[in-house]
């Protein structure tokens, strides 16, 4: 009886062991591409927001709102001179966490917003990430695209100065909250930086963003 059990246990253990070993090989093989994918998306979005920048210095920015986490922030610099700050902010949206990259310029205007991760309903909230979904069809403006040029002190109220995605008010409000929090924090950080090191800030504000 015990021998039976032992034999069964051994067979099970062998299968499990083979499976685990096989998986660890696949994991090792795919680990690097997976990491590369993550960083590539962020880097491409950073270049997209601050095309003039030649380096992005990672920095820490604290979030005043505990429900919105600033995973990291990047100082966009050209020749050492600060162009603006991009904040990678994560907050909960309808279908889970959504991660946005919010770029703020020295003029306290949003340079642009890129949706890095969004798990909302396809066809509805997920259209925040869809480059061909326009909240303003006439001017072909996407949901994140509408934030470009907005001053961080604006109301950021959905349906008032922010156009929502059709039938996705929860997503629209959640993402707007994240943008506002990131914009506010970035503007505060930039002012701080300007005070501490005026020689690294340019004399004139750069042109508006995308």
């Amino acid at each position: 009886m015990m021998k039976q059990f032992a034999k069964l246990g051994l067979i099970l253990a062998i299968f499990a062991a083979v499976a685990c070993v096989g998986l660890s090989f696949v994991y090792a093989a795919t680990k690097d591409p997976i990491e590369a994918n993550k960083t590539r998306q962020v880097n491409e979005s950073l270049k997209d927001l601050f095309a003039d920048a030649d380096e992005f210095v990672p920095t820490d920015v604290l979030s005043a709102d505990p429900s919105i986490i600033f995973q990291t922030a990047y100082q966009a610099r050209k020749n050492g001179v600060l162009l603006g700050l991009a904040v990678k902010a994560a907050g909960s949206s309808y279908g889970g966490q959504s991660v946005l990259l919010v770029g703020t310029g020295l003029d306290r205007r949003i340079v642009g917003v890129r949706v890095l991760e969004n798990k909302d309903t396809p066809g509805l909230g997920a259209n925040a990430k869809n480059a061909s979904y326009f909240v303003d069809k006439a001017n072909r403006i996407t949901f994140p695209g509408q934030f470009a040029g907005k001053v961080v002190t604006d109301a950021f109220e959905v349906k008032k100065d922010v156009i929502p995605i059709t039938a996705s008010t929860i997503t629209s409000k959640a993402l707007t909250r994240i943008v506002k929090a990131a914009g506010d924090a970035a503007a505060a950080w930039i002012e701080n930086a300007a005070m501490l090191a005026p020689e690294t800030a340019p004399e004139t504000a750069p042109e508006g963003g995308k």
Partner: protein, 191 residues
């Protein structure tokens, strides 16, 4: 309150069956009568909460620190399968009446997508242990609700004249479609 929000979203607004299409196999198969649905609903609730209580610590205290996160799928499904077996043994020995009533549903719980989905999402959403338990209960309650609703509707369907092309399973999905429309009304619950 944060936990209340998790409950409302998981049970109603984002109902696991009606809004997210998860656990449809058992939804169609187990709603033959209301008693069956209730039994299945509670069994799923029980296993989901137990599974959460087991998988959350395993992930955070074993898989993560040891860099074995790629074993998540394997480990979680084995935990659920084992838990289901244990529940089956326990019921067989101690509550034979319930065991007989549940019959074949018990082993089927292992393949219930909702349970595994909940264990994965607890990790993906970054929930704390308490939040995970609340989420597990909420999703299961939503599942129970959907099951009872369809079981009730099916009683009506039995005595209604159904057009030929919808007879059988098509009418069940058409009915589900209407229930889902009703559930969409919940989306205004949370601001």
């Amino acid at each position: 309150m944060d936990l209340m929000k998790i409950f409302l979203v998981a049970a109603l607004i984002n109902n696991v069956v009606l809004m997210r299409y998860i656990a449809l196999c058992s939804y169609i198969g187990m709603t033959g009568d209301v008693g069956q649905s209730v039994g299945m609903g509670f069994a799923v609730t029980f296993v989901t909460v137990l599974a959460t209580a087991a998988t959350w610590p395993i992930y955070h205290f074993i898989l993560l620190p040891l860099n074995l996160t790629f074993l998540k799928i394997l480990v979680f499904i084995l935990v659920i399968a084992s838990l289901t077996q244990l529940v089956e043994f326990y019921l067989k020995k101690n509550i034979p009446g319930l065991y007989a009533a549940m019959g074949i549903y018990l082993p089927l719980i292992t393949t219930n997508c909702a349970i595994l989905a909940v264990t994965f999402e607890n990790i993906d959403y970054g929930y704390t242990f308490i939040q995970s338990i609340v989420y597990a209960i909420s999703v299961s309650m939503g599942y129970l609700l959907a099951m009872i609703l369809l079981a009730g509707v099916r009683i009506r369907i039995k005595t209604s004249p159904i057009p030929k092309f919808l007879q059988g399973t098509p009418i069940l999905f058409a009915a589900t479609s209407l229930i889902a429309v009703a559930f969409m009304g919940f989306s205004g619950l949370i601001k």
